[in-house]
């Protein structure tokens, strides 16, 4: 594993290198998915090129986390194909799925560090579980990864002693430990102050370029994603509703995208969860409702 750690020490300007490989790493074709009866994804198709950073946006509950779950094989679609590096994820057996997942890195919203292990042991976890490297080599690798996220000094701390931003960076170091081909980020910026957001955003871009990864970043943070993404997609109505470049997002007049970009409360994305008209419900005219509705 060659590790260009040196190149990561100095501040790298956030320059978006255009995707060098045009061929897709992920290809999702007509995927349908429903929780119980409620459809979440309805015929979603998407292809992600090798080497790009793709920002996935969409309203709360639009199925962004669900999409990552489907790509990681944690949940199965009702219909459709999810090809990752040529393999159809939903059809893989456990062994093949696990083999594929060793080449994934996933960053969960709040880091999901193992709370009973120290920072060092958290980052060492993938090496100890997936490789037979001697402990001395593991030690060096862990320190290099921690150095890459600027937290070598925190190696001895427990996760409970970290701030949210630090925890996110440790989790990032853990996620890239095995030099994955694909990184999945679920809302990596939530709950971070602007500085930490900037640090994590730069890291995402830097790691992507330094290791030749492909990254899917689910986020609500338009600013951050515009800075680092090569492409932005917006999920709505269970599909890829818009597929834009960051420049498009800044200039477009599309009402839907503008609502996101400008943070308007109501617009094409409704503020209300689907419900019967308020007056009807207050007057007890409908039966359905959160409390079983009005009595007849």
């Amino acid at each position: 594993m060659p590790l260009p750690a040196a190149c990561m020490d100095h501040e790298m300007s956030v320059v978006k290198s255009a995707p060098t490989h045009p061929d897709p790493l992920i290809e999702i074709k007509d995927v349908h998915f429903a929780y119980d009866e409620r459809p979440i994804l309805r015929g979603l198709s998407l292809s992600v090129r090798k080497g790009e950073v793709l920002a996935v946006m969409g309203g709360s509950g639009s199925g962004k986390t669900t999409l990552l779950g489907l790509i990681g094989g944690r949940i199965l679609p009702n219909k459709g194909k999810i090809l990752v590096d040529g393999q159809n994820v939903p059809k893989l057996d456990r062994a093949a799925l696990y083999a594929l997942r060793t080449r994934f890195g996933m960053l969960f919203q709040f880091g999901a560090l193992f709370t009973d292990l120290s920072v060092f042991d958290n980052v060492a976890f993938p090496y100890r579980e997936q490789t037979n490297l001697p402990e001395s080599v593991i030690r060096d690798l862990v320190l290099l990864k921690l150095q890459a996220v600027g937290l070598r000094g925190a190696a001895g701390l427990m996760p409970s002693q970290l701030s949210g931003g630090m925890a996110r960076r440790v989790a990032l170091a853990r996620a890239v430990a095995l030099d994955p081909m694909l990184m999945l980020y679920d809302e990596p910026f939530t709950g971070l102050d602007p500085i930490s957001t900037g640090i994590v955003a730069r890291l995402i871009r830097r790691l992507n370029d330094a290791f030749g990864l492909t990254s899917l970043v689910v986020t609500h943070d338009l600013d951050a994603s515009l800075k680092i993404a090569d492409r932005v997609i917006v999920l709505a109505e269970g599909q890829v509703y818009r597929d834009l470049t960051p420049d498009d997002v800044r200039t477009t007049t599309d009402a839907f995208v503008r609502q996101f970009a400008d943070g308007l409360p109501d617009g094409p994305v409704p503020f209300h969860y689907p419900a019967p008209p308020l007056l009807d419900q207050l007057l007890g005219k409908t039966v359905a409702g959160p409390n079983g509705g009005g009595t007849p």
């Binding site: 060793t102 560090l113 579980e129």
Partner: protein, 265 residues
Amino acid sequence: MNSVIEMIEGLGRSVLNALARLGLAGRFFLAILMVIGVPLRRFSLLVRELYFSGVRSLLIIVVSGTFVGMVLAIQGYEVLQRFGSAETLGVLVALSLVRELGPVVTALLFAGRAGSAVTAEIGLMQATDQIAAMDMMAVNPIARIISPRFLASVVSLPLLACMFSAAGVFGAYLVGVKLIGIDDGSFWSQMQAGVDFRLDIVNGLIKSLVFGVAVGLIAVFEGYYAPPTAEGVSSATTRTVVTSSLAVLMLDFVLTVWMFRGLNG
């Protein structure tokens, strides 16, 4: 009329829910058994859980056992001396402990002390995506997290039950012989004459082994399937204690009937 139908519907629903949950638990149990070799091969995983489940329960078990034994001695003596057979106190205490109180009380205490902790720990790991993260790192969480905790419960409980019974006998000895003044020799000899190794001690061990499986399974199951919220984890923890206690008491009845049937033939 309508309300009666609604009631029956409600009953049917809850029965179906309970059955579905039982089926889920059964499948979960099988999944654990499939990977039970992992904590045996990677012994350090098991050792850590033995520490948290077993060693940490040691004090409460030994102290409770001693007190239960002392109380048994006082109460038993009071009854036995009415019939002029106070020397049989040793048998009474030893049989009560080894057959029933050792396995049962230990399992109840263990469910409250260690089972609830396991549920809370796994529930929190689930709520904070630690289990999902592990799964995404291609490490089977059932093998790595669940099965060591389950196995630790199965191993700890018989050991703890033995310590409980031993402490109880010791407590009874203190009160019966040292305090009340029953003859030392007849206390032990009556006990040895009345307690059978296979029938009483081994059966008690089997009981606590079964309780270990039940409490361990309930604890990891409730934690694993706890709703990922603070409320979900706390109610799962409560459910672990309640369900394990009920399961232990019911299993105890079944096992007792099965083990001691036909003994008076």
